[in-house]
Every structure is written in C-alpha cells, then in structure tokens.
C-alpha cells in the first residue's frame, strides 16, 4: 500500500504560490529524497504534510486515511513525524528526558517510556551524553537528538528536513550511516537535502521541485543527469 499520497496540493501565501498542484506517492520501506533550489517550496511541502500548514486545495492520504487537516500532534500519533532544520528541543531537559517525551506518545507509563528512550539513545550512539542538558549540545549532537526524539514516537514515516546542514564531512558520513540504520529498523524516510552526494548515496527515489512544482522524479542516477534538473541548478555538476 502507498504510505503517503499527496494529491494536487496547493499552498499560497498571499499572491505567492509556494506549492503548486503537487502530486507525490511514497511507498513503504524506501528512502525518498526531495531536492530543489532555495525557495522551491520543499520546507513548505514538509510543513503541509506534517500538519503545520493547511493547503489551499488538494489532499493528503496517509496509510489510506485523509490527513490533510490534521494537526502535527494528531499526525504523530498516526506515525508521521518530522525533524526541523533548526533543531527544536527542550533546552532545559536532559537528552534522555527529551527522548522520553517522544516515547510518552506511545505509552502512558513513565518508567516504561524511559527505558525505551534509553534503548533509542544507545541505538543512536548517544549513550554517553544521556544526562547532558539539551541546551548545551553541539550541532551534530542536536541533530542526533532530533532524530532520537522522533524515533521514540515509533513512526512509520519519518520526514527529515535538511539534517546535513551545519555538519562537516565526517559528521555527514556518520549521519548517513545513522539514517541507514534507522531505515533498516523499518522506517520509511523522506529526506530534504541540499548536499548532492548525500542524496545520491542515501536515497532510492528522488523528487525534484522548482517554483513549487515537481519537475522530475526517479532514481538518483536518472534524475541527477536530467537536463531540466541540471539547468535548475545552473549547471552544477557533481
């Protein structure tokens, strides 16, 4: 079954069409990528899917259910969760407490949630920092925490918004391995990225947006050689 179906979704801000009749299908089990130049509407699309914006028209189906007008917390319960480009965490709580909040979406029992949180922290290699205050973490650790929190909600579909931003080459490779590990545990990933080699390395299927519209879609090898795509990036070759 298709996990996520986006049908003709349009979002306008005043006179500006940020997303224009977007159609997209995401199948369970794969890693999808979303690329496009700045201002193409990628984050806006993410915001619409994850319940922060409501589209002007079109609808979105998740696991067969119409979720177009649901809020982000309702979506989280159904298994759709996202991370933010600028990590949003709870600065005055420790790492494990941050993840605990995520785990609490699946169980009322605090003790049980805490042990699940601990498992996830170890799974993602953050065991050392478990009691550190989130507000004092460094960027790449924050990104890891973002993922940990979201993972604790046991998602089916995981939307990741520019996870690589602000990471150096070593950290990026670590992150790629991490994401592959997350995917292997059974989560479908939908990733927005600017860094081309990451997208090529990680994703099985890529969607390209420009000016709010989809201009290409397919496997990385095909898409990245597509004329339209290359033009859009003004001849950026990898």
């Amino acid at each position: 079954m298709n996990l996520l179906e986006i049908n003709s979704v349009t979002k306008a801000f005043g006179g500006l069409l940020a997303v224009n009749r977007m159609n997209l299908v995401i199948e369970q089990g794969k890693i999808y990528g979303l690329i496009g130049p700045n201002g193409a509407g990628k984050t806006t699309l993410f915001n619409i899917i994850s319940g922060f914006y409501k589209p002007e028209s079109g609808d979105i189906f998740f696991a067969g259910e119409n979720v177009t007008y649901l809020s982000s917390d309702q979506l989280c319960h159904r298994g759709l969760v996202r991370t933010f480009q600028m990590p949003k965490m709870f600065p005055e709580m420790s790492v494990i407490d941050n993840v605990l909040i995520g785990a609490l979406s699946r169980t009322k029992r605090v003790g049980l949630a805490r042990s699940e949180a601990e498992e996830i922290i170890n799974f993602l290699g953050m065991g050392q920092k478990k009691d550190t205050l989130a507000g004092s973490l460094r960027v790449h650790e924050l990104k890891r925490l973002e993922i940990a929190k979201a993972l604790a909600t046991k998602p089916k579909l995981f939307l990741l918004d520019e996870t690589m931003a602000g990471l150096n080459a070593v950290e990026q490779n670590q992150m790629i391995d991490l994401l592959k590990k997350v995917h292997d545990s059974g989560v479908t990933l939908f990733v927005v990225e600017h860094v081309m080699h990451v997208v090529a390395n990680l994703c099985e299927h890529i969607v390209v947006m420009n000016y709010g519209e989809k201009i290409a879609e397919g496997r990385p090898q095909e898409v990245l050689k597509n004329e339209k795509v290359v033009k859009v990036y003004l001849g950026e070759e990898d």
């Binding site: 809020s71 917390d73 989280c76 709580m93 979406s105």
Partner: protein, 335 residues
Amino acid sequence: MNKRDIFSYKLMIGIFTLILFLIIPFFVGDYLMQVIVFAFITSYLCGAWNIAGGYGGLFSFGHAAFIGIGGYTTAVLLLYYGIPGWMGMLLGGLLSACLGWLLSWTICRFRIRGFYFAIGAMLVAELLMAIVVRTRYLGRGMGITFPPIDKPFNFQFIGIVPYYYLALVFVCLIILVAYLIERSRLGWYLRATRQSEEASSALGINVTRMKVVSMTLSAFLTGVGGGIYVLALRFCSPYDVFGIMFSVTLMLGTLLGGRATVFGPIVGTFMLTAVKEGLTLAAEAVGGVSSFALVLVVWGIILCLVAKYLSKGIVPWVTDKLLKISLLKGKEEIV
C-alpha cells in the same frame, strides 16, 4: 549524593514537619493558630495556582475569580439553603472549573498571550467583583457573614482548631496532587509544553489540551479552596475574595517559593507570612504606621525583587546549591 538522595531528604523533612504540625494546636495560642490556619489555606491556594501558573505555564493574574466563585457558592448554599459546607465547596470548585475551562479554551482558540492574557484575567476577577457588589442577593459590598454555629457536618465550627486540621489536610492534598502530576505523563507533557510548544506538538502533545487541563484542574482546586477560606473566616466579602491582592498573594507565594515545584508554594507562603507577622509586630511597636499598608509595601518590594532576581524561586535555588555542593564534594573524593 544525587537527585534521589535529595528527594529522600525532602521526604524526611516533610514527614517530620507534618508530625510537628499535628501536635502544634496543643502548644499554641489563639492568635498564632489563626495565622497558621490561614497560612495553610493560602499555601493550598498557592499550590492550586501553581498547577496552572507553574506547571501549566499559564501565569494567571486573575485566580481570585475562582476563589470568589468558590467562596460565594459555599456561602450562599450554606447560609441561604442549608447545604453543607463541603458540598458547597465541591460545587464551587465545579463552577470554577467551568469558568477555568472556558477561559483556557478561549485563550488557546484566540491565541491570547502575555500582557493581554494578564489584563484579561485581572479583568475577569474585577468584573465578577463589580457584578457581586451590585447584587443585593449576594450581599453587595457588605458581603456575607457567617453566624457562629457549630455544625461539624456542614464544616461549621466555632473554634479554630477543627479548621486547623482541615486546612492541614488540604495542604497535604495539594502536595500529593503536585507530586503525582510531576511524576505522571501529564507532568512531563506540561514541562515540555512550557519549554517549546512547537517541539511538543511535533512529538504528539496536544498543547491546547494541556493548557486546558491544567487551568481547569487549577480552577477546580482553587474554587474548593475559596470555600474553605470563607468557612474558616466566617466572612465572604467581594473586595477580599475577588480582589487583586488575593491574586497577587497566590502569585507572590508561588513565585517566591518556586513555580512548578511541590513545596515551593508552601515555603513561599510561610516566608511571606513570617514577614507579614514580623512587620505587624514592628509597626505596632513603633506605632502610628498602618501595619496593613506597611506589609503590602514590603510585599510589593519582594515582588519586584523576586521578579528581577529570583524568578525561579527559593526551592529551586536551594536545590541547585545543594546539587552543586554535592557535585563538588564528589569531585574532591575522586581527586
């Protein structure tokens, strides 16, 4: 020493204090008894405020509205219709809860924040006061006076001692409620909501529901507290129960003691009471100065100082210092 040890320390101190308080009435005179009883009731009310203002992050400047509703419901039902005090208190609590629910839902729906929320809350209390002052049925500005009757089933007692134990029960109750909240999923969700609404939403927390629940619960408990207050005072005056100073007392006590802590409201209230009694003694000794006004001036100063320098409150400050000392000690041992 770690967090768990500090907790056991606190528990021990708490139990010790409780035993102490149980035997106090045998050793203490009437005036001091009055002071302690109302300190207990105010502690309870601060604790109730804390659920919305501290844990819930909804800093309410108008909680007197709930005290007033609870107080008047109890007074009217008891004195006009013979309905027992405890029933009146519960009904008063329910009515307050309704108002609390309505208010918090409105705040969330219309996104009323910060200053607008503050003035709105104050306005609600003032409006209720203005309405009561005009209503003959409710005693207008003169308020409702309770005759000195002894009917324990109604929660009407002649002496102060029964109210003492009643108030003590209330304090223990609010401590229990706060403790349970802190440990529950609700408590964690409220903490998360206070720190980041967006992050909370993304993790499945219905922020609106959190706010509504905390405000409604707080309103209920405050309303019930209003009932016991007027019963113990045997007087229900609109300028008192709906007054801004009552709202301020709840805020000040909790702020001073520590928002979103179990014992903060109680510690804060007792400190303020100590200051108040001390100043009253001093003013009477010097003579010629209105002790009432002097106390309020000092409270105003405390309010300003706390707002600027100690907005976390005393209990967290002390806990922090204790933790730091223990961490330092720990380091020394390793070295």
